[in-house]
């Protein structure tokens, strides 16, 4: 070999070695950064599948199920994995119980994103799921869910419902994934955090086609789902059912509270709906029906409505006046079919006259309480009517009116208690006691939720204090509920002043008065009717506030029926029957039940609204 050849040989050898060095350097650069690449490899070779837990169930105060969870399955399709040679679609469609059109639609959707899991049908029963598994079609998978089931089918707007989270909720709430269920309205929403349980995750190794190859890391990193907690509600579901039955066809509300604890025994907002309607395939249609119903069945009137309390509010006026020293139980005022003031008259009905406080309560005399309220707010010690109203405001607030009570439900209404500022604004600063006078008998600007009224019944039953009303008395695995429900709230009126008021309520039922229908032998029922005027074109609202027995009361109740006429007409029998049912466990006055069921309040107002609304929609 000549020298030139040797030179070329050496140059070429150097090039070959250089190539090796370059390749190895690049390999080092890649492989000494292994963690970064391992992370990337993990990211696309692992699929996490969320496993939904069983949602917590709800029992009533006697251990009966109000809300149950039943297993069901979502059926998902991955278009690319479907067998190429086709499959038995007819059988599949019948198993899934969907229309061929809907199935076609899902298939089209699946074809557009052929690797994604597309929901074809939800709420597949356990049996059908097994049959589907037997068909063994690749590309069709099921996902465990729980659906709600309501053995007594009561309490629609009280319990709320579960729905799939919206996209906005997923963004806002974190911790939720698309397709997950979330409690909406009522108890479901209020106790969402406890009921939902904890999601589990299963990790799978997947190949490049996103097909599952097997469990990742032998399932060691999987997280088991934890089922939601069971709640024990304060509701007596049998009583609730009975109350809903009585309220059938009426618009209004029934709230019953156990005075010694603040536990809500019954909470009916009528019209209600069968909660099963908002579960399952037909949910969407049913939901729209409820939405278009102008009687607004989804609106929980018990905690959200703002009703004038009517005569039941006289109790509060009497109590405040006594505390402020302008009234003693034995004071008598005469009544001549009404109370005249400044050229106007507040009408009253026919009854004996003059009456003392007890009988004025029993007979629900308007004139008496107008006088009492006037004496109260025009008391010279306040200096002005404005100041008088302000003092009166503080008292009324202490009874839980004009503010949220702080129950465990969301969206509680506050009602309305008019303040001097409200009147100033409304009357340009020029108003006097006469302007305010309608408040004395719970009319005018006064507005309360039925819950606040039931709470008033509980306050009187307790002679001056209440526990914040609540719907849940026990949580699985915890020995107490929120501390705020164990706290007594005293009103600004001393206990002693409640005695004549209770006496008047007792007389109203047991001796002579507006509430005689509520008489239950041996149970010392106390009550106060109310008849709230509203639009003159329609019948008055009928309301009744009651508790029983007089000593150691077990139940305090408020019934409010919109446009039900006189308090005694509908509200009293309903309340009385519920009390009878709760106290004795049975109902022995079938004729009274008949009377309630035959009572058909006239809802022209709502019917007209519905007609207009439908006409608008059809256009």
């Amino acid at each position: 070999m000549n020298n030139r050849g040797r030179l070329y040989y050496n140059i070429l050898r150097t090039i070959v070695v250089a190539v090796g060095v370059v390749l190895l350097s690049r390999l080092m650069w890649l492989q000494f950064n292994a963690e970064e690449y391992r992370e990337r490899a993990r990211a696309h070779s692992i699929e996490s599948v969320v496993e939904f837990p069983m949602r917590g169930e709800v029992l009533d105060r006697n251990g009966e199920y109000i809300v149950k969870s039943r297993s069901c399955y979502d059926v998902m399709i991955v278009y690319n994995d479907l067998p190429k040679e086709g499959f038995d679609t007819t059988r599949l469609i019948s198993l899934l119980d969907v229309t061929p059109e809907k199935f076609e639609k899902s298939l089209r959707e699946a074809r557009q994103s052929p690797r994604a899991s597309i929901l074809v049908a939800g709420y597949l029963s356990q049996d059908n799921k097994l049959r589907l598994d037997e068909m063994n079609i690749t590309g069709i998978t099921t996902r465990y869910r729980t659906a709600r089931e309501y053995p007594r089918k009561v309490g629609g707007n009280l319990l709320g419902y579960v729905s799939e989270v919206s996209k906005e909720q997923v963004d806002k709430l974190h911790n939720y994934v698309a397709g997950e269920y979330i409690g909406t309205n009522g108890l479901e929403s209020a106790y969402e955090d406890l009921l939902r349980g904890k999601k589990g995750v299963k990790y799978y190794s997947i190949d490049v086609h996103r097909a599952i190859v097997g469990p990742y890391n032998e399932g060691k990193d999987d997280i088991q789902p934890e089922r939601g907690l069971q709640l024990i509600s304060t509701i007596d579901v049998r009583l609730q059912e009975f109350a809903e039955e009585l309220m059938e066809g009426m618009i209004g509300s029934v709230v019953a509270i156990e005075p010694s604890t603040g536990e809500i025994l019954v909470m009916v907002s009528s019209p209600s709906y069968n909660p099963d309607l908002l579960v399952g395939r037909q949910r969407g249609n049913n939901y729209m029906d409820l939405l278009h119903d102008q009687r607004n069945p989804q609106f929980n009137r018990s905690v959200k409505a703002k009703y004038p309390p009517g005569s039941t509010f006289k109790l509060v006026q009497g109590l405040i006046a006594m505390q402020e020293g302008v009234l003693t139980p034995n004071m008598r005022y005469s009544c001549n079919m009404g109370y005249k003031y400044g050229g106007r008259i507040m009408k009253c009905h026919a009854h004996a006259s003059p009456l003392d406080l007890r009988d004025a309560v029993a007979q629900s005399c308007n004139a008496y309480f107008c006088q009492v309220f006037k004496d109260m707010i025009t008391n010279p010690k306040y200096g002005s009517v404005k100041e008088g109203v302000r003092v009166w405001n503080d008292y009324v607030y202490s009874f839980g009116f004009g503010r949220q009570l702080g129950t465990d439900l969301y969206g509680e209404g506050a009602g309305n208690v008019p303040t001097p500022e409200d009147y100033d604004k409304r009357y340009n600063g020029r108003w006097n006691y006469g302007t305010v006078l309608s408040c004395s008998i719970g009319q005018g600007e006064m507005g309360c939720t039925p819950l606040q009224m039931a709470n008033l019944a509980a306050i009187i039953a307790n002679r001056g204090y209440y526990y914040t009303p609540h719907l849940v008395k026990g949580i699985e695995g915890r020995d107490s509920i929120d501390a705020r429900f164990y706290e007594r709230h005293y009103t600004m009126v001393d206990s002693i002043h409640y005695v004549p008021i209770v006496e008047g309520m007792w007389r109203s039922v047991n001796v002579s008065g507006t509430s005689r229908t509520a008489y239950l032998p041996g149970w010392d029922v106390c009550g106060k009717t109310g008849t709230a005027e509203n639009n003159k074109k329609y019948a008055d609202h009928s309301t009744f506030l009651s508790f029983a027995p007089k000593d150691n009361p077990k139940i305090a109740i408020s019934v409010y029926v919109e446009h039900g006429g006189f308090g005694s007409a509908i509200a009293v029998p309903i309340a009385s029957l519920i009390e009878e049912m709760y106290l004795t466990g049975k109902v022995e006055r079938p004729q009274l039940v008949e009377r309630v069921k035959n009572a058909k309040p006239n809802y022209r107002l709502y019917d007209e609204k519905q007609r207009k609304y439908d006409a608008q929609r059809n256009k």
Binding site: R6, L24, L27, Q31, A34, Y37, R38, H44, V213
Partner: protein, 480 residues
């Protein structure tokens, strides 16, 4: 040649005694490592019969058996046969390529395959052997001188014939392998006036894709000024010259609406005219070189941009991804992206045999053929990669050494051809799996799954070994 490598003829009395054991060892090691890796790439844990011939690794094992037989046969052949068969095999090889082009089967867009039963054969693999033999035959001719234009045209034709058919088959990647012969030409003393422009053109082509023309020409200007300074001194003078050009172009760009690139071109052209005048006046002909190269670049850079647009879209994309113009993880760049993840995630010692998630779950495409190196990288880590690269480099160096040892040009040219082709395959294949090279459908020699490739490389290498084993034969005078 290399002193200290004189093995006495006594030790080389039998044929197998004369066979280069180092090359044999390297060959066998690579083939077996390949088989083990293919087994991992195509292992199916659900198959009940590990030894079923439906598995790729069992097919490969079968091919290894066939290759072993061929190897023994080749080693037993008289070395003169290769010399004699050079021309006929070249004719047959080219014929097969044409036949594949006309009647072959299209796979992945390339009409370059024959199919017999379940087996597919790619004639280009055998054309490589034929071309190497033919090249050795032509270049070992007594009157051959690579510096003579007529001889250069001869060898050029030997390469261009199969190359053009392969390109027509739409298998440009395989065709580029024939470019490896420039390595051989260099060894045989190719004039720098030939290979330097080739390298320069390739350099310009890649640079033109990555950088803006203005940048390229500014750098070139500085480079040539530097070169001229080294040759003639007078640093300030050269710097001043370059600065004047740059300043002139900046002014041009600033005061007219023309782009910086155009301004630079015009001022450079003016400067070149001045320079040429200077060159001919003072007879400093060495300055002509940089001027010619610069003018060539001025013509080539825009042309290559234009030519680039004439490439097939997928080729354009591969090149764009390769030069880093596009960060693509989905379509074209997907393969390289996944392959880099596979190798990178292997780390120092790898994930363990049969444990690679990237390759096992098909994230890396063609994992048992073109991307077999990924399986190695993922499961055996840097250690495995190091061993494989080292084995290849050692084999290539060994082949070159064997070439130098053979006293007659036929053997030397042949050995260098094999070494060059091996080197190119290794660079392109491993380079593409680690993102250094654009993706081309070129297998990793001896390791990738595929019968024709394995057989062809076995033949290629064993012919070299056989030629080397004849070094001490007495009847060396053949053809002389």
């Amino acid at each position: 040649m290399i002193s200290g490598y004189n093995i006495s003829s006594k030790q080389r009395n039998s044929l197998f005694g004369k066979v280069d054991m180092v090359a044999m060892f390297l060959y066998i090691a690579i083939v077996l490592i390949g088989l083990v890796t293919i087994t991992s790439a195509s292992y199916d844990p659900e198959s009940d019969n590990f030894f079923s011939l439906s598995h790729n690794y069992m097919k490969q094992a079968l091919w290894i058996g066939i290759s072993a037989v061929v190897v023994v046969v080749v080693l037993l052949l008289d070395r003169r046969l290769f010399h004699m068969f050079a021309i006929p095999s070249y004719v047959v090889g080219v014929g097969l390529l044409i036949a594949a082009l006309l009647f072959g089967r299209e796979v992945n867009g390339a009409k370059a395959w024959f199919e017999f039963g379940g087996f597919r054969v790619q004639p280009v693999e055998f054309a490589k052997i034929a071309t190497a033999l033919m090249m050795a035959r032509v270049m070992s001719d007594y009157s051959f001188n690579i510096k003579r234009p007529i001889d250069l045209i001869k060898v050029g034709a030997v390469i261009m014939l199969p190359f053009s058919i392969i390109v027509l088959q739409n298998d440009t990647g395989s065709g580029l392998v024939l470019g490896a012969f420039i390595f051989v030409f260099f060894r045989e003393g190719l004039s720098k006036y030939i290979y330097f422009p080739v390298i320069y053109t390739a350099f310009l082509f890649i640079v033109a894709l990555i950088f803006e023309p203005v940048v390229i020409f500014t750098v070139l200007l500085l480079l040539f000024a530097g070169y001229s300074y080294l040759k003639h001194g007078a640093f300030i003078g050269h710097l001043r010259f370059v600065l004047i050009i740059l300043l002139a172009s900046i002014l041009l760009a600033a005061f007219t609406s023309m782009s910086g690139y155009m301004a630079l071109m015009i001022s450079s052209l003016l400067a070149i005219v001045v320079l040429l005048f200077f060159v001919f006046k003072t007879h400093t002909l060495s300055l002509l070189w940089p001027i010619v190269l610069f003018v060539y670049a001025m013509i080539f850079v825009p042309t290559s941009d234009y030519l680039f647009t004439k490439l097939e879209p997928h080729q354009q994309n591969r090149i764009r991804i390769f030069v880093g113009m596009v960060e693509d993880t989905q379509d074209m760049g997907y393969n390289v992206y996944q392959s880099k993840i596979a190798i990178g995630s292997g780390g120092l010692v790898g994930k363990g045999y049969l444990e690679g998630t990237q390759t096992r779950f098909n994230f890396v495409p063609e994992k048992h053929t073109d991307f077999i190196f990924c399986v190695m990288g993922e499961e055996w880590g840097f250690i495995g990669c190091f061993v494989v690269v080292a084995l290849y480099i050692a084999l290539i160096l060994r082949l070159m050494r064997m070439g130098e040892r053979i006293k007659e040009p036929f053997g030397r040219v042949y050995c260098y051809s094999v070494a060059a082709m091996l080197l190119l395959h290794v660079i392109v294949n491993i380079g593409m799996t680690i993102g250094l090279m654009p993706v081309m459908g070129i297998p990793l020699p001896l390791m990738s799954y595929g019968g024709s490739s394995l057989l062809a490389f076995s033949l290629l290498i064993m012919i070299a070994v056989r030629l080397d084993a004849s070094t001490s034969d007495n009847d060396m005078s053949m053809g002389v």
